[in-house]
Subunit: 395 residues, 2 copies
């Protein structure tokens, strides 16, 4: 049995408990997660029995890749009949309507209406959270990919450091980083799940420009090149003595890593250096608590206390109205996975979770300093997946 | 009045005709189109009166950038009240419920349900097509950006050609191209609107690998680096005498260009050379018909006739079951805009449309050849926006 079939079975157990007939997986990333292929179509996982991958294109590639029976999608008119046929005895008879779950957090309304019309009488359930919670616990093969992504990010960072110089534009540094990542196998996409969310390799910005707030749901900002992509690197020139925030990731075999280091040409202002040191202290204190059973939000609340003691609350994770209210986030096929280290997230840490933790401090007009590493929660504690050296990296 | 306010007014005229109270623009690209800013939030354009941009973050940046009144988004509970207040007299009184349009082609169901709950009694309309049809006709400023993107793509292509060599991996060529694009101001994202659609700079693949079909809704394929991003460049090594398909774009000031050239190290097989020549002939014949009033689908049907006469129908725009059924597509802020040159698209060409036209032929096991240029429809005909030299480019 493949890891993909194991995931289908785990989903089936949850569906049986909920009385659902099946899950119509529509999102490309979820389809990949459950069957190992990302061709266009729908993956139907009945509560009992074998999965069916209805593919528009490419059928040939789906047949090669997928841990599921593959059929041509054909007309949506035949969908109801085919899903019913897939459901074992009890899960969709005339007496009991089909209860179909799907990912309402990402599925567009138009497509949902078409699916509803194709399955008259079906009851629809929101399966988003179930999928996101299952994906929260990584299997060993997923960790292997994330570990490799961590190696690639470190190698790319070390490769570009010797080329950073005063007067280089932020976007030139970003272009260098991306080139090094791509040469090492980065797939070129960094996937996010939330509506309207986009990520361009990460947040690479220096000095005042890094402290410009953005729409991006993260602590660092950047001007971007234009109001039509208002995040990360812009045209600002990197100056001596200002913090260069290199918050980057990459994707290997579908899986992301996320890492931040603060660089500087020359010496950092003592106040920013002190803030950086507090960021490292927050990270170390968080690490000391990374073990199964600890509640996700507690890590955020503890960090808030530490930051307050250091007198840096106004600068933590953004500044003023543009602060974000978290310390870290789950990461895997997407960068905005569960658990979030934030208020309201009551998940106890559990083995297999992979979490990026990113204490940062923003100083308007001066820059952003901080550090971010990505961790695997293990039976007894954690394994740090990112491998880059710590501390302010002097160029 | 800014171009963004002019766009709001054009939308208002359409809303008044339809009896809608206003448009709640939710999609980041559409928000940018109508107000010049892309911060997180909702842009409400009432049928009469001034637009209101409700922003989560960054408020500061929205205030600097947007051609609209800006307010903090706050709680969704206040949304109904605030939208009603924005509507002039008749468009949402107790007697007549608010009729709110939004983009149901991209809005996720979960968010739609939250918005419905926030505006009890409101009637929702699907405004997707209206927005897409308005965006189909470009204003002069949009054409300026697309023209600049065309210049950047050409410069990047010419910069990499001297570095292409036998035995180079596809992904190494792609990394070089992306680096050159980014150094010239490419924003690093290529936006698509359709659900699950993704684009990694374009389709750069050589020989047999280029003919491997993909899930991507386009004529060229590519293995990609992994089943989790199964398109475009993979690890195949570029060989002598095989077609190297360089279908690339970039984004400048939010706007995309799309261009394909076929390259070869040495000489191309005569059969593939002939197919390439037919692709150029199809493009020339299409150009000869590019003028206001011509129906979009006719250009596709005429191409089908030409291809059939040349005996290449089975190879046109993909092979066998993986053929796509179009000749070209609108392009602007996204790569999958209207009009599509395909059956069922009855739009008459009109000044301001920008269309990428991409006749290509796929030969399984051997490669893909073809050409793609992007055109602006003018009052009297067309302007070719892409500027790269034609013909098979010998390396």
């Amino acid at each position: 049995m493949t890891i993909f079939q194991q995931r289908q079975q785990a989903l089936q157990r949850e569906m049986i408990e909920r009385g659902w007939s099946g899950f119509l997986v529509t999102n490309n990333v979820d389809i990949y997660y459950y069957c190992g292929s990302m061709q266009t179509g729908y993956l139907f996982i009945p509560a009992e029995g074998d999965a069916l991958y209805l593919v528009r294109r490419s059928l040939v590639r789906a047949e090669e890749e997928a841990s599921a029976a593959v059929e041509a999608l054909g007309s949506l008119k035949t969908l109801g009949e085919r899903l019913r046929a897939r459901c074992a005895g009890g899960c969709g008879s005339a007496a009991s309507p089909l209860r179909i779950a799907t990912e309402l957090d990402v599925l567009p309304v138009q497509l949902y209406l078409r699916l509803q019309a194709a399955l008259p009488g079906a009851v629809w359930e929101d399966g988003s959270l179930l999928v996101r919670e299952q994906r929260m616990i990584k299997s060993p093969d997923e960790v292997v990919a994330i570990r490799e992504a961590a190696r690639v990010v470190d190698a790319a960072l070390e490769a570009v450091i010797p080329h950073i110089r005063e007067g280089m534009a932020e976007f030139e540094l970003m272009a260098l980083i991306e080139h090094q990542l791509r040469l090492r196998g980065h797939q070129g996409l960094m996937r996010m799940r939330a509506y309207n969310s986009e990520l361009i390799t990460g947040m690479v910005a220096a000095g005042a420009a890094a402290a410009v707030p953005t729409y991006f749901d993260g602590p660092a900002g950047g001007t971007g090149l234009h109001p039509s992509s208002p995040q990360s690197s812009g045209r600002a020139l990197i100056g001596r003595g200002e913090p260069i925030l290199v918050d980057i990731g990459c994707t290997i075999d579908g899986y992301l890593i996320d890492q931040t280091r603060t660089l500087v040409i020359g010496d950092l202002d003592p106040e920013l250096q002190r803030a950086y040191d507090v960021a490292e202290q927050v990270l170390r204190a968080t690490e000391a608590r990374l073990q199964p059973g600890v509640i996700a939000e507690h890590l955020y609340l503890l960090a808030l206390d530490q930051v307050q003691e250091a007198g840096l609350s106004a600068h933590f994770m953004g500044y003023g109205a543009d602060q974000v209210k978290f310390l870290g986030h789950g990461i895997g096929l997407e960068i905005d996975e569960l658990p979030v280290l934030a208020k309201g997230f009551k998940y106890p840490l559990a083995p297999g979770m992979v979490i990026a933790i990113e204490p940062k401090f923003t100083f308007p007009g001066r820059g952003v300093v901080g550090i971010e590493d990505t961790y695997l929660i293990t039976e007894n504690g954690y394994e740090k997946l990112t491998i880059s050296r710590d501390g302010i990296l002097r160029v």
